[in-house]
Amino acid sequence: MDTINIEDELKFVDPQQIELKLNSFGDLELHLPDGTVHTPVVPARSFPLTDVTHYIAIQTDNKEREEICLIEDMEQLSGESRRVLEDALEKAYFMPVISRLQAINRRFGVTQWKVETDRGVIVFDLSSRSAISQFDGGRLLIKDIDGNRYEIPNYLQLDPKSIALIETQV
């Protein structure tokens, strides 16, 4: 008996054949090769932390979030579709990259971080240490008490003061 080929379950599409665009309401529209149009749809990264351009799922924009198709490599999309998708993903996954720490103040278990990011200077609060996730290669992911997320690709490559400040927290 043949084993089930689990890869058959994947709904890959040929990126060249599909089209993504915004309609007048600003909702994302997906045009499939067979001529069907889905709207509104939302993109979702399968690996938001480790691979941001591959395996982008396109889902229905409702409670069920049903997957319509999976884009293996968004670089292969046609120019306009790619721009639209990049734009949508930028909004959907907002995660400034921290480039320098200015200060960390502790007060009764809350740490207040003042940092410089690629989006500007920001101050945020963490209420426990579990807010910082550590990954291989010095990569840090920080989730503040309001649910905002920040990334440090490799904290060991920051300036010495930032490293010292981070070392006290991780």
């Binding site: 309401f25 600003g26 938001p48 907002f94 995660m95 009764f108 989006r119 609060d125 008490i145 309001d146």
Partner: protein, 784 residues
Amino acid sequence: MSQSDDVPLQVRGKDRSNQSSMSDGKSEQSNQELLVEEIPAHIQDLLPDLKNSPLEVALATDLHFSGNYGQDWLLATNDKIIAAQQNGLPEYQLQQIDLKQIDKVEILNLHGNNILKIRIANQGIELARFSKRQADKFNEARFKIEELIQTQKGEDQKIDTRPKNAGRKTRCEKCGKAIPHWSEICTACIDKGKTISRLLKYAVPHWKLLVGGLMMMLVLTSLGLTPPWINKMLMDEVLVPAHSAISLGQPVSENAGFLLLKYILWLFGITIITNAFGAIRSYIMSWAGQHITHDLRTETYSHLNTLSIDYYHKRDTGHIMARMTHDVERLQDFITHGIQSMLRSGIMVVGMSCILLWQNWRLTLLTMWTVPLLVALTIFIGKLYRRYHHIVWRRVEKISTILASTIPGVRVVKVFGREPDEIERFNLHSKHVLEGGLVVSKIGAFYHPTMGFLMGLGTTLVWWAGGRQILAGTMSIGDLTMFLSYMWQFIGPVQELSRLNERFIRAATSAERVFEILDTAPDIANKVDTTHLDEIEGEIEFKDVIFSYDGELNALDGVSFHVNPGEMIGLAGHSGAGKSTLINLITRFYDVNHGQVLLDGRDIRDISVESLRSHIGVVLQDPFLFNGSVAENISYSKPDALPHEIIAAAKAANAHDFIVQFSDGYDTVVGERGARVSGGERQRISIARAILKNPSILILDEATSSVDTETESKIQEALERLIQGRTVFAIAHRLSTLKYSNRLLILGHGKIEEFGTHNELLELDGVYAGLCKKQAELSQIRVI
């Protein structure tokens, strides 16, 4: 809460929210105010003339649409929305939309940021992008804008259905500051003085002891300051004159021996007094401290018992327990040690400074400046040391985490052949510990010598300055030794005082957490003129009952039915249909929002809660047994039951046979939550408990799930005996459980869908008939 029948539902709903708590009302109002922020001049200049229509909403975002941090503005008057956006350009651009055009206002809930978007006839426009920090603010704004749109379009106002934030609060409602994970309440908003003085009220009954203890402390502390002083006298009046006399070849003064003895006796006496009375004092203070916390603990626990189920429902058991144990303990520490050591340190610092200044203010000013420096440096280096120590400690903890996950999961590791990877991962973390440990060693190697150096430096300074004064003849050797010993004593109290604020806040927070329990008023309170019912028939009637747990969704929505005494009613319906809610209302764990629940024709709110519950027996799905003997658990419903009554109840519950087989019989301890007896046994013990109580109304909650067939039949038998002659409400998913029911009540979405006998409902061919069919199919599949 008094509620009458003729008030329409909507008003009732409003009543509820107003009554629920004062602070709710306040926060709503402040939210309204928060929706209009102060607009900076450069935005103000751009705006059209708004004189005729004041701003209802004026909020700054913290993100531009480009994704950079910065302020865009969202404004709304009662006829239009204005958005001021800066899209990478130096100038703000204005967008104005008539409220009448707007079909829908939505908030796109994205990762790490949100977007407020509106839809008009043929277009969608994104008006504001903001971080999660501002999510609540813009949610409020959205409701406000929707309200404005409805008013503008002349539509009816919808009932306020905004979701309330029920989860753990991360920011303080009043000041917006982050709330520490451990505290649950805002440390910045506690009125420290008020809370501590409220705490001190508990000390009032023991004031004599406390005052006595504090007086003793005052005297003892002052006494404790004297030995260096006596040392000085000893030196200057006895030893130095004697020594110089001897070195000059003169006879030692006659009364030198007497003086020596005198001062030695002084020192001896002070040592005895300070230590002996110190022991008494510390016992007195602990006695008072422990009694105060005992009072606080018992008061809190008895208050907790008066609180309704709703209170427990909304809170984490662990957190309530922490308040009862951890916080109360911390308060005890604060009362017994904290207050004392603060006072003592204060007295010591002031006392020592006074003595020194009075004795020799020049030398004091010259040398004592090193003390604050020394204290500051020890605190600073100490902090650094502790910080790195903490880092290593956390890395070691990570190793424990790895061990805790891989050792129990060793089968998985082996099955997938991942041993080498796990070893490598472990080595990596072990290396982290090694590196961190070396850093700590480095700091430690630096820390202790630095401390020693600073202390030595201070001493040397005193020696130097003092020595020069001695040489100049302006100071005695006794003074110098006194200075040196005071200097060593100075550091402890100063460090203690530097931690004062933190200690105070910790204690105030703990006190606040405990007081918060005490300040919660029970929702279900007896009215003044309730009656006590000795005997009841067991007739139950629901009259148009509406009930909601959260004020949003009605768990019961207009339920009316009548049950005769002695009738058994089977309750069925999918989960969330309202079965448990119905039970919660009969047992009066909650009060209805609208309508009435009648027992023997009386509103149950007119019956005292105690007498109502004395007539109700409950057998729960997962019966709860306390850690005690089987007999104690059975007689929990009737503490004065005689042994033969307990045995009779156990027999009726088919429990007697297995109980006597235990080697400890009825004295068998069931363990925490009844863990040492099996599920079926637990169930029968709880049935025996209900039988012993002999209630007129019985509630069975899916009493026969998750046991084997034989046990189930025994339980069924026991239940049959139990339900004789009582009004019974039985919740069950399985239809077989309901076969003894006289009538069946099928609930769906808080409403009664069907109500009648088995046959009636089958004929009706509705929900119940469908359920029966499905179950029949399922059992067929099982047979195959």
